[in-house]
Symmetry: C2
């Protein structure tokens, strides 16, 4: 299988080295663990969907990768594309398997997704997303919206990153505020408010007046609303003080207050009502979530989501959903790619069993086997090189222990901690490494 053509990285398709992959795995494990503690069931959908499903929303069609068989004889019944998120597959899956699922259906899903975007920092063509959603059959209580910020808080806290804040808003607040001001369509307003972090208050004010066609008074009302940011339900009175009234606004404020109140058990400031959060380009209908990491606001929200009242619908009625998505690859690109986190060693191996001679291969293999049977990752060295070389092999990989089989009858095996140089007698059936050396862990630096 020799390769003659030149081997080049593919832009937008990053690959990790094995020690980095260990970190990625451990962070994905943490997402999985937490999702399961909360009672979410695992789901994995096929990588492909019919193109007609993928393009149904229209907006993202430019990013889709289509697939076809190299020697397609033109008999393909349906054009297929790679999924670009995990929400479209979920919407299709819950319809397809509706009769076999239990509702409310709480599922998590951790998979690669593909987008044919122009690669740039933090934008990949292949990347991991981790999604958690609850889907109801016909209706979905607000309870599930209210549970989500605590889960987001725990998820973000499970990553080796600086403190993160969960930001919550409700689309009905924005909609209702617009209606209270006599405007039905808030699309342009929401689009403008989404830019507050990048272009600031005066830039957004200009957009609101010039692009969205608001009066100066209206624009200022919106900017006052968007400036409201409270870690408690005090935002309700602050909005009330703006003097705008609409039934939908009240409904949104009630929902948002319920969600924020449910988060009051978390450390103060973990979850904040932030009335400028809109998730402009997505089709949310109620609660919306974002997050911001201290010192990394430029990274944007790596954990976001919201409620879709109509995640999927069919003759059998609608399936509302609420959920979040974690941009795992974007997070890792920053923190792992940037060298801020790393694995404590390069390999799972905890013990390298030295090979004394060709004749004692079976002895070294038996020691490694005995250690493995007790859950200690161990491998026997492959060549009877002098011990210095075998130790160097371990050292280069960060393997903490080298095991020396007894060389004469009556002698005992010894094990050396190659960091301290301490070497002690040991039996493979009983020796244990310190708990912290058993498995590589994730270090922050």
């Amino acid at each position: 299988m020799s390769t003659t053509s030149k081997i080049m990285p593919l832009s937008g398709f990053p690959e990790w080295l094995p020690d980095q992959r260990m970190v990625e795995q451990q962070l994905l494990d943490r997402v999985r663990r937490l999702a399961e503690l909360y009672g979410f069931v695992p789901l994995e959908t096929r990588a492909v969907e019919p193109l007609s499903h993928l393009t149904h929303q229209g907006e993202t069609s430019k990013e889709i990768y289509t697939i076809r068989r190299l020697h397609d004889e033109g008999d393909a019944p349906d054009e297929l594309g790679l999924h670009f998120d995990l929400t479209v597959p979920l919407a299709r899956y819950v319809q397809e398997f509706r009769g076999k699922l239990r509702f409310p259906f709480k599922r998590y899903q951790i998979q690669k997704v593909w987008r044919g975007e122009r690669p740039q920092e933090g934008r990949y063509r292949e990347f991991y997303q981790a999604d958690l959603d609850v889907v109801g059959d016909g209706a979905l209580p607000l309870h599930f919206d209210a549970e989500m910020p605590a889960l987001m808080h725990e998820l973000l806290g499970a990553f080796p990153i600086p403190r993160a804040t969960v930001l919550v808003n409700n689309r009905k607040v924005l909609d209702g505020f617009g209606r209270g001001l006599g405007r039905e369509d808030t699309t342009e307003v929401v689009r403008a408010l989404d830019k507050l972090d990048s272009i600031g208050r005066s830039g957004v004010r200009e957009l609101l007046i010039d692009s969205a066609g608001l009066t100066e008074t209206e624009a200022d009302s919106w900017l006052d609303l968007a400036a409201i940011r409270r870690p408690d339900t005090g935002f309700v009175d602050e909005v009330g003080a703006l003097g705008v009234k609409h039934e939908r606004l009240s409904e949104g404020l009630d929902e948002l207050a319920t969600v924020i109140a449910a988060s009051s058990v978390l450390p103060p400031g973990s979850v904040v009502a932030d009335l400028h959060i809109a998730r402009g380009l997505d089709y949310y209908t109620g609660t919306v979530y974002e997050s911001v990491i201290d010192g990394h606001a430029d990274l944007g929200s790596i954990c976001s989501g919201g409620r879709y009242d109509d995640l999927a619908s069919s003759d059998a009625g609608s399936l509302p959903g609420v959920g979040i998505s974690v941009g795992v690859s974007r997070l890792l690109g920053r923190f792992l790619g940037g060298g801020m986190i790393r694995a404590s060693r390069e390999t799972p191996t905890c013990v390298l069993v030295a090979l004394v001679s060709e004749e004692t291969r079976a002895q070294s293999a038996a020691i490694a086997r005995s250690l493995r049977s007790r859950g200690i990752a161990a491998e026997a060295f492959h060549e009877p090189l002098r011990f210095g070389k075998q130790i160097r092999h371990a050292d280069r990989r960060g393997i903490p222990f080298v095991w020396f089989p007894a060389m004469n009858p009556g002698e005992q095996d010894t094990v050396r901690d190659i960091r301290s140089g301490e070497q002690v007698p040991a039996e493979p059936a009983v020796w244990n490494p310190p708990e912290s050396d058993l498995y590589p862990h994730v270090l922050t630096s």
Copy 2:
């Protein structure tokens, strides 16, 4: 995101229900755990490779899926395809990252692969493979070939399936035997021997004479060789008794004897020298491995592999490899799809905390939070329905415990095992379920 087009399963792209996905995850976890105990590092490569790399071997080109951006402006520098196995990506990866890897490079890789084959029972267009390989830089000691059968034995033993046997041969034995008979090219012979299990001795004899052009005596020699199957190194003398001599044959027998001898610590019959194993369509150069599951010979080998002396090569020299691949999806298709294995319950949730009333939501949430903080998967019910309905919700999902918050001051919470009906007082900060209920496990039926 309502979908108007009809939703249909895609042939060849199977999807599991969540409880089945839990089983799949647990089996993949076992592969990962075992690989790491043996000191293999994790690797995940991008799903796509340049088409020129994928088609380099030629034979599989018909199965490749190519990808392109839906709105490709024709500026793609290189046509891309989805990988159809994990060996071609490994060969590319070790060349691309050669300077950053440690050799011998032991890696495991568990990923989906895609093949545009016509779907049929046990053949999918998207499926999981789990590969373990060791790659050397320039040379790779036979030690690594010899370690592999024990690993295969442990892997197969970690699956909830009947007893499996590991079969080993060496291509040099077949090559050398042919040369000893005065024939350089054994391609047709190997192809015929591969059919022994399906068309039997007389059918293969006919093929050897008619298609491979052997004499009757030669054909019988080959059939005698192919009939040799020994759990120990006794096969060396049995081959010797056939009277065929060649240096390459001796070399192959030596290597095979070393591999079989290293497996002698395993339960008798676990690893067998089987001289008809050839892995006909693959480019192996020495040791070859297959496996067979008791009572499921028709499934073929779900764990196979061998040595490539030239996994990859470049100006910097060759990179020989030895490894195995587990057909996880094929195995699951048979045993999980066939209902022979299943999850002990439908959800990770161990405890459903009942909701007494709207007013006590925070109390139920706090109980669930306390249980989760000690690693017990728990969720609070979302509606204050009567307890019978909440218990039924748990029962349908196989959630073993329902927690009832105290309803009056001075009372204690209680927890009910809904299988036995036993209900006892409990505190969320100290109560523990039996170890066996903590997490769903895989049952054989």
